[in-house]
């Protein structure tokens, strides 16, 4: 099976969908000639033409709004945010327009908004955010966060084929840093399904995005010390896989909730509430959250390192929890 980078997997998924369905088109800033800030759309202008790979002005509200309008007419737009931080400029069109059109009118808006999120590349406060939770709180949207190349391809295809507006959060730190096996040809990863990234028995680590790799690194370390971590990759945050969350906690009876997004109002808080409601009797220890603190993402490399959860922090928390 071919091995490819996370970035190439996203690119291949979009490419294949563009070939498969002429109603799919791309729009965004510098996605054509330039190939996108991170080159996700490199080569697409040449292959699919300027009618389907559209360079736009720096106008996020109009990009998203035009995508919504086109989706209403039966098209399947894939809009790129150059950085997911900039999505704030198109916020109204996403949370008021796209998210609520089907509820208000019963009309479909099959639309994907994708782009790089996450820290670790010293991008500073406006180029590093994990802002997925802004949208997880908006019924009508779907939010996905692939961690592997396999899922990146399968989820972008699923997102493009979904009849709802889907926000697809790429992690820029992973673009060229990870590689895994990606089957040639067509497959999708269902939205709303988690996966077990590593089987274990003692502590469940539930996470998503780049933190999956952090959790796996910690699990490797802890295994040497005789503590077995099970790593669950959520893959989708809205809807999220409640059954998978409950299953791993019922199996391991202890849980660490890990993410790169900030703490208050983060996914970990939501999962903790779910576990308190539905798995109270299954817990043999306190629910542990490991998240970024409630601060902006700083530029300074040592500060950014302090901001981000890492394998060492996860391992320390796991040791403590194992001993509880």
């Amino acid at each position: 099976m071919p091995v490819m980078t996370y970035l190439d997997a996203i690119r291949q998924g979009i490419w294949e969908e563009m070939e498969r369905d002429p109603s799919v088109f791309l729009l965004g800033e510098d996605i054509g000639d330039y190939g996108g800030a991170f080159k996700v759309t490199a080569g697409m202008l040449k292959k699919f033409g300027a009618e389907r790979v559209i360079d736009t002005p720096i106008s996020e509200s109009a990009i998203v709004g035009a995508a919504v309008g086109a989706a209403l007419m039966g098209m399947r737009p894939v809009a790129e945010m150059q950085f997911m931080d900039f999505i704030s400029c198109g916020f109204d069109q996403i949370v008021n327009m796209a998210a609520k059109i089907h509820y208000r009118w019963g009309a479909k808006v099959p639309l994907v908004i994708r782009g790089p999120s996450g820290a670790g590349v010293h991008g500073g406060p406006f180029h590093s955010q994990s802002n997925e939770m802004w949208f997880v709180h908006t019924p009508g949207l779907k939010v996905v966060v692939p961690a592997t190349a396999y899922d990146a391809k399968g989820l972008i295809k699923a997102a493009i084929r979904d009849d709802n507006p889907v926000l697809y959060f790429e992690h820029k730190f992973l673009y060229r840093r990870i590689k895994d096996e990606v089957p040639e040809g067509d497959y999708t990863v269902p939205i709303g399904q988690a996966r077990v990234a590593r089987e274990g028995t003692d502590i469940a680590v539930i996470t998503y995005g780049a933190m999956v790799w952090t959790a796996l690194e910690a699990a490797e370390q802890l295994a040497k010390e005789g503590v077995s971590l099970e790593v669950v990759d959520l893959r989708s945050l809205l809807p999220y896989d409640e059954q998978a969350v409950l299953a791993t906690v019922r199996k391991c009876n202890k849980v660490i909730l890990l993410h790169e997004g900030t703490r208050t109002g983060g996914m970990a808080g939501e999962l903790a509430a779910l576990l308190a409601e539905k798995a109270f009797e299954d817990l043999d220890g306190p629910i542990v959250r490991i998240t970024a603190p409630d601060t902006p993402v700083p530029f300074s490399p040592p500060l950014e390192e302090f901001f981000l959860p890492n394998a060492k922090k996860v391992a320390e928390a796991a040791r403590k929890l194992a001993a509880y």
Partner: protein
């Protein structure tokens, strides 16, 4: 709610005979060049909107319509004149003051009234309300309850139609206060850059809620904003249905033959408060001002014009009035006998299954 009912007071039924109103001199010329059947249809649609809105005000005051309700009374000539230029395959997007455009487009008055009353049989199953009317088969794409939110969508609709090689045009209505939001500028630039067959109709009724345009816009001649985007523009008397029709028809022709957008400012006036929650006149405009504007009531002027040309007689007007009253009564009856949505309907349609 109680306070807002009290503030709004009751709505006076408008006398719609020409009674002393002079015909518009420019309108006479245009009327002579327009088939009588078209003239009568335009008048009927304006009358329908007027009567429908008066009835909506009445139901609101009775507590049968809740929430927020923005009436189109005074602005009928804009929606009716503009939409009369469209074919059945064209599209319309509008703001939250959209009952008039929906009726002008031929949406069922009963289904609109039912939506205003939150009934299951409403055009949006009672989930949208007054500001979220929608009927895709009739090309009516909202009803958007955030100022200017529909402006970017219109570019997307026009883009998709062009991409799919369909010959439709898209009309996008919004108020003068919407030209100050960023999306307006982003979207007009896109429409001009992508050469989209879209027509932006700015209904300048002079007030963004309670703030006059002079206090919110550095530029009063709003269609000039088109120059920034190398776009065709027009400015028209929004109280003259035939002038609106003529100006929009030119823009529609430009959109169809050259795939080029246009920005039109239609100068109009709303005779009611911003919504049913505020009085007709008050802190921001005087009673005298509203009365002066009412002398230019687009329906009265149009009747005077048509009577002066012998296109309609006072008896014809009475007959038309009866007809639209019946339509509105039927609409109310339909809404009254419609059911409320079931509680579990709350959960349907959040996602496409």
């Amino acid at each position: 709610m109680e306070a807002s009912h009290a503030a709004a007071g009751t709505v006076q039924l408008t006398e719609v005979s020409a009674s002393g109103t002079p015909p518009g001199p420019m309108q006479i010329d245009r009327a002579q060049r327009t088939p009588p059947a078209v003239l009568k249809d335009l008048l009927e649609k304006m009358l329908l909107i007027r009567r429908f809105e008066e009835k909506a005000a009445e139901l609101y005051s009775m507590g049968k319509i809740g929430g927020f309700c923005h009436l189109y009374i005074g602005q009928e000539a804009v929606g009716v004149g503009a939409i009369s230029t469209l074919g059945p395959d064209d599209y319309i997007l509008a703001s939250y003051r959209e009952h008039g455009q929906a009726l002008a487009r031929g949406l069922d008055p009963g289904e609109i009234m039912a939506e205003l009353c939150g009934k299951k049989s409403g055009v949006s199953k009672g989930k949208g309300g007054s500001m979220h009317l929608f009927d895709k088969p009739r090309g009516f794409l909202g009803g958007h309850a955030i100022v200017g939110g529909q402006i970017p969508l219109a570019a997307g609709v026009a883009f998709a139609e062009k991409y799919l090689k369909k010959p439709s045009v898209t009309l996008c209505f919004f108020g003068e206060a919407a030209v100050n939001i960023g999306s307006f500028h982003e979207s007009l630039n896109l429409a001009a850059l992508w050469k989209l067959p879209v027509i932006y109709i700015c209904e300048n009724n002079r007030f963004g809620m309670g703030t006059p345009i002079e206090r919110t816009s550095a530029l009063y001649d709003l269609s000039q904003k088109a120059c920034a985007y190398n776009m065709a523009r027009g400015c028209v008397d929004g109280m003259d249905v035939l002038a609106v029709r003529e100006t929009v028809a030119e823009a529609v022709e430009r959109a169809r033959s050259q795939s080029a957008p246009t920005l039109i400012e239609a100068r109009t006036y709303r005779f009611m408060g911003h919504s049913m929650s505020d009085p007709v006149h008050g802190h921001y405009r005087t009673k005298a001002e509203v009365e002066e504007q009412r002398r230019h009531d687009p329906i009265k002027v149009f009747i005077a014009t048509l009577e002066s040309l012998g296109v309609v007689s006072p008896a014809d007007i009475e007959e038309l009035n009866e007809k639209v009253r019946d339509s509105v009564e039927d609409a109310v009856a339909f809404s009254e006998r419609s059911e409320e949505p079931e509680p579990l309907e709350l959960h349907t349609d959040v996602y496409v299954p």
